[in-house]
């Protein structure tokens, strides 16, 4: 009898494997080991992100300029539309910088959400052929957005400055807010990256969800003014972290927008909470990615 036939009973084989010191392949590692391993391989995510930017931009004539041109055109479009349809009285003060900050910061969120949600299903080739912590895929997409936000934020500040806003020390807080927001975006990307793997239909609903967020976070109107007589709804809207990130950036660089301690608390707490939930939620399905 050969060894092969000898061990055809299930208990026999696994015991034999363990006795010989073999390890289970593809088993989901413990959370701690997973995070250590992902951190050790972070260069993969960073390199992938930067290559992606180059590849995407290489295909267009204007190249990297598109990264800043896109949100600028978007702001221009919304600016024109809302300037025409919104009566002067309901438009917030300093409408142009107010709107530009809203559109630019919201783009950071929506792109991370949309691309992050697709980061596993769009990289099936990579996921199916090489073994690495899958968390590096959503990490690469969010990193790509982080790299892109640098020229975008600079453009945003230039536009705001050109529109007549005074440059103050507070401007230095903008990168701080965006950094906290990046952590939040990463958590959201992780949660949705897993959800879309389970529920493919979600990719159809996401644009709607993004739209809804766009209209409810006060990009082109002031939530405070519109909901002035509905304190309950206002409190609810303020709990939306995306609103707080936008409001905090506005508070730094657009006059007439104030910040409260509460905003900072919501901003930091939401980022930490989303990040922790996202990492755990994503890790728990590690073995699941690539099976379809």
């Amino acid at each position: 009898m050969t060894v092969r036939e000898e061990h055809l009973t299930t208990e026999g084989l696994s015991a034999y494997a363990e006795q010989a010191g073999l390890e289970r392949v593809g088993a989901r590692p413990k959370l701690r080991r997973y995070i250590v391993e992902a951190w050790r391989r972070r260069e993969l995510a960073a390199t992938l992100a930067s290559y992606r930017i180059h590849a995407a931009m290489g295909q267009n004539r204007l190249g990297l300029v598109w990264i800043v041109l896109r949100p600028t055109l978007l702001a221009l479009m919304f600016g024109t539309i809302f300037f025409v349809i919104l009566p002067n009285s309901s438009r917030p003060d300093n409408f142009l910088p107010f709107l530009v900050v809203g559109v630019f910061v919201f783009e950071f969120f929506s792109a991370s959400l949309g691309q992050g949600a697709r980061s596993i299903i769009n990289n099936q080739g990579l996921v199916r052929s090489l073994n690495f912590p899958r968390i590096l895929m959503p990490m690469a997409t969010v990193l790509q957005r982080v790299f892109e936000i640098i020229p975008v934020a600079i453009t945003m500040m230039v536009i705001v400055a050109l529109s007549g806003e005074p440059i103050t020390w507070n401007w230095l807080l903008v990168p701080v807010v965006l950094a906290i927001m990046a952590v939040f975006n990463f958590g959201i990307a992780l949660i949705f990256a897993r959800l879309t793997v389970h529920l493919r239909d979600l990719t159809q609903v996401l644009p709607l969800l993004t739209r809804l967020m766009f209209y409810s976070t006060g990009i082109f109107y002031s939530i405070e003014a519109v909901l002035a007589d509905r304190p309950d709804l206002l409190a609810l809207a303020r709990l939306n972290p995306v609103y707080d990130y936008i409001a905090l950036v506005r508070a730094q660089i657009v006059t007439g927008n104030s910040q409260t301690m509460e905003m900072w608390i919501v901003a930091v707490a939401a980022a930490l909470l989303c990040f922790i939930i996202g990492v755990i939620f994503f890790w728990r399905a590690e073995e699941r990615y690539g099976r379809d």
């Binding site: 061990h7 299930t10 494997a17 088993a27 052929s129 090489l130 073994n131 239909d201």
Partner: protein, 247 residues
Amino acid sequence: MAATDTRTPTVVVDGIDVEYRVFASGKAAGNQMSLASLKPKGVSTYRALHDISFVAHEGESIGVIGHNGSGKSTLMRSVAGLISPVKGAVYASSRPALLGVNAALLPNLSGARNVMLGGLALGYSKAEVEEMYEDIVEFSGIRDFIDMPMKTYSSGMSARLRFAIAISRAHQILLIDEALAVGDKDFRQKSQERIRQLRDTAGTVFLVSHSMKSIRDVCDRVLWIDHGRLMMDGDPDEVIAAYEGKA
């Protein structure tokens, strides 16, 4: 008896069942929007492997044969840990490396960048990949095209590059899924040389192929998979004869 078998096992596959989730597109006729279509009726599971068990040892090179869709690639992906079985488990002495046909990492990126990303995904640091870069490009033999996007490569060229990337790491367990089939004579020689080297240094090689000649050339044991089940496991000549007799 296990105790009397002195060979060291490198891979133990223990009764694995593997399933795919399939997203079927709607049936051709009568696919109107209805409430029923909101249910995920398009999602079903397909069992690609049924209760596969075997043990592979140091110094073995194992051919895997079977009809199209029998589950050979699925078996390789499970051994590599890229799909986890719904039942049973795979054990290995070190992390197996899979070399598949569709392993093009990022088709829009140049060969050079794919080398970098492949190396990073294999667990090297950037500096280490830069150090190995010359050897990888040399082995692949496509230096003139290394800055072209990988999607412009011929199948042989991309197989060469992927093979060069995969063997850059001294893997003890190498799974080759038809990746050599498209290579020319020069490349076949080079790669068979590497496979022999690996075998001699106590490695284990799995080779999936539809070419019985290359299986006979390289392998000293063959697994025959049929409709997701292990039909036969043994001497190449016997198994191939049985497979060809049936086909």
